[in-house]
């Protein structure tokens, strides 16, 4: 990964899954889909603490979210599927129909 860049993985989580049924406007789903998991090493590198606000920027767009520390490899961030993280996802599908929703290069900035 290039200097200063992180790799974003999106995916399912339990609260994102239950929130699909209980209602996307409620706190569980909102929290699951608006909080970025960041590795402990990167939290230190960027001077972050749980609950801090960060801006993430990809080639396709940017979004502002909260962060919290998670057991992840250094250089990787994770967020559950949802409309917030989709601002960072491009529309190129390379003739597969599937956009890149995992392995997206992002820049992180502490707000």
């Amino acid at each position: 990964m290039a200097d200063g860049k992180l790799v974003l993985i999106t995916g399912r989580s339990t609260k994102q899954g239950t929130g699909i049924s209980t209602g996307k406007e409620f706190p569980d789903y909102q929290e699951a889909t608006t909080v970025m998991s960041v590795s402990q090493a990167d939290m230190i590198r960027y001077g972050l603490h749980d609950g801090d606000t960060i801006k993430l920027k990809s080639h396709f767009g940017e979004t502002t979210v909260k962060c919290h520390s998670e057991d992840l490899p250094e250089g990787m961030v994770f967020m559950a599927f949802g409309s917030v993280v989709n601002k960072l996802v491009g529309n190129e599908t390379y003739a597969s129909g599937m956009p890149d929703t995992k392995g997206i290069e992002v820049e992180l900035e502490k707000i």
Binding site: I9, T14, G17, S21, S83, N91, T93, G97, T101
Partner: protein, 429 residues
């Protein structure tokens, strides 16, 4: 009232052993359901005061809304029918018929989930088995790019890891579980062996495994930056060759990462290769509800599982041309019928931008980001709770959805049938 052996249609596990308690017009308990299934039964089994139809956000009658929906779709030059994951096969058939009559595109959630697995199936063939065979025979389980602990919470306990089977008498003790992923998830804790790989290197690793399974030498330098050593890969290849019945469960880690259908093709080829030395199968970890069902329905009816176009009067299939992200991002679709899905919440921003520019007709069981912006929105009965039908499990086994709770709302099948009838009146064949 207690109803036993109810089928849960939230995820691809499609558990059929749920005991549902119905009291005072609501579901109060869903015994045996996982956390996702409980949320589904208890949330969808509640009374609702939503209008059966909304037009531009205002309550409307079913007749008015059906007419408006039909007119919108017949006036479009390139209508798109999309979604179809959380609904019955019977409704999916109506949707295919509509798309054909309209001469538009029809795509389902498969294209943003396991479409690449479908493409691998077409190119290579799918050496697969049922989940019953996994439970009864499999002594080696590999999850690759999957986190079943959060996406399919009962998968390990009901089918793949802990249950005792006919030829697996000691259950968990007779199985070896491997999990391959880019991060240590909750599922990794349940595995005997967790292999942490670097993002975007699955193809290289699967291809190297193919070589090792065939007894070919691998240059360790070629594995640099994959996250795994030659020793780790060699060990995995030996375990795969020596097992009696191995199963590879593929997740979105393969379908949604760099490589997409090339990743899944490598996995399918690996499993095919392994059948020269042992018995090995693969099962894609299909996610939402009846997404496997729509693949089957579209397969019967059009010959293709997703991304189909009827503009020339016959079905054509081309991922990247007729798939939802592409059709919307390029600004091609000029009206969309969304069934049992929430694309405004789930698609990339350029596709969502197009959705904001065109008429949306949405059918859903509850309010969503899509229904909120739809010009015509129908509230429908939940298949599996208030509407009967057929659902397909991830291993292509069909199961019957019961209706356990009366609903004031029509089913997706009924609404789509009404729209189809009105479209036929407006657009005679």
């Amino acid at each position: 009232m207690q109803v036993d052996n109810v089928v849960c249609a939230f995820c691809g596990c499609v558990c059929d052993d749920i005991s549902v308690t119905v009291q005072d017009g609501r579901i109060t308990q869903a015994k045996n359901a996982c956390v996702l299934g409980k949320a589904w039964f208890l949330s969808h089994g509640q009374p609702s005061d939503r209008s059966v139809a909304l037009m531009d956000g205002k309550p409307a009658s079913l007749d008015e809304a059906v007419d408006a929906a039909a007119r919108s779709l017949t006036q479009a030059r390139y209508p798109l029918v999309y979604g179809l994951s959380s609904t019955s096969c019977e409704a999916q058939r109506q949707a295919v018929a509509l798309a054909e009559l309209l001469g538009g595109c029809i795509d389902c959630c498969t294209s943003v989930c396991h479409g690449p697995s479908g493409m691998a199936l077409q190119g290579i063939g799918e050496p697969t088995c049922t989940l019953g065979e996994v439970k009864n025979r499999a002594d080696l389980i590999i999850y690759w790019g999957s986190n079943p602990g959060e996406s399919h919470p009962r998968h390990m306990a009901r089918y793949a890891v802990t249950p005792k089977g006919m030829f697996i008498p000691r259950g968990r003790k007779d199985r070896f579980v491997v999990l391959v992923d880019v991060r240590p998830t909750v599922s990794a804790r349940a595995a005997d062996l967790f292999l942490q790989v670097k993002p975007g290197k699955d193809f290289e690793l699967l291809w190297a495994l193919r070589a090792l399974v065939k007894g070919q030498a691998i240059d360790e330098a070629g594995l640099a930056d994959t996250g795994l050593t030659l020793a780790q890969l060699t060990d995995l290849a030996e375990r795969m060759k020596k097992c009696r019945f191995g199963v590879l469960f593929l997740g979105q880690g393969l379908t949604q990462s760099r490589g997409k259908h090339l990743n899944t093709s490598a996995a399918f080829l690996l499993v095919r290769d392994l059948n020269s030395v042992t018995k090995f199968a693969l099962v894609p970890m299909r996610g939402h509800g009846n997404v496997t069902g729509v693949d089957n329905v579209m397969g019967w009816q059009t010959g293709f599982p997703f991304g189909v176009n009827f503009s020339r009067g016959y079905p054509r299939f081309n991922p990247g041309e007729y798939t939802v992200v592409d059709v919307l991002s390029r600004g091609e679709a000029d009206a969309v019928l969304v069934i049992a899905s929430d694309p405004v919440a789930s698609l990339p921003r350029w596709a969502v931008k197009r959705l904001s520019e065109i008429p949306i007709i949405a059918l859903d069981t509850h309010e969503s980001e899509t229904t909120r912006v739809a010009q015509v929105a129908f509230t429908t009965a939940t298949a599996g709770i208030s509407a009967e039908g057929t659902v397909y499990r991830m291993d292509n086994v069909p199961l019957h959805l019961k209706s356990v709770l009366p609903s004031p709302y029509p089913s997706d099948e009924q609404v789509l049938g009404r729209i189809l009838t009105r479209v036929k009146e407006l657009k005679p064949c």
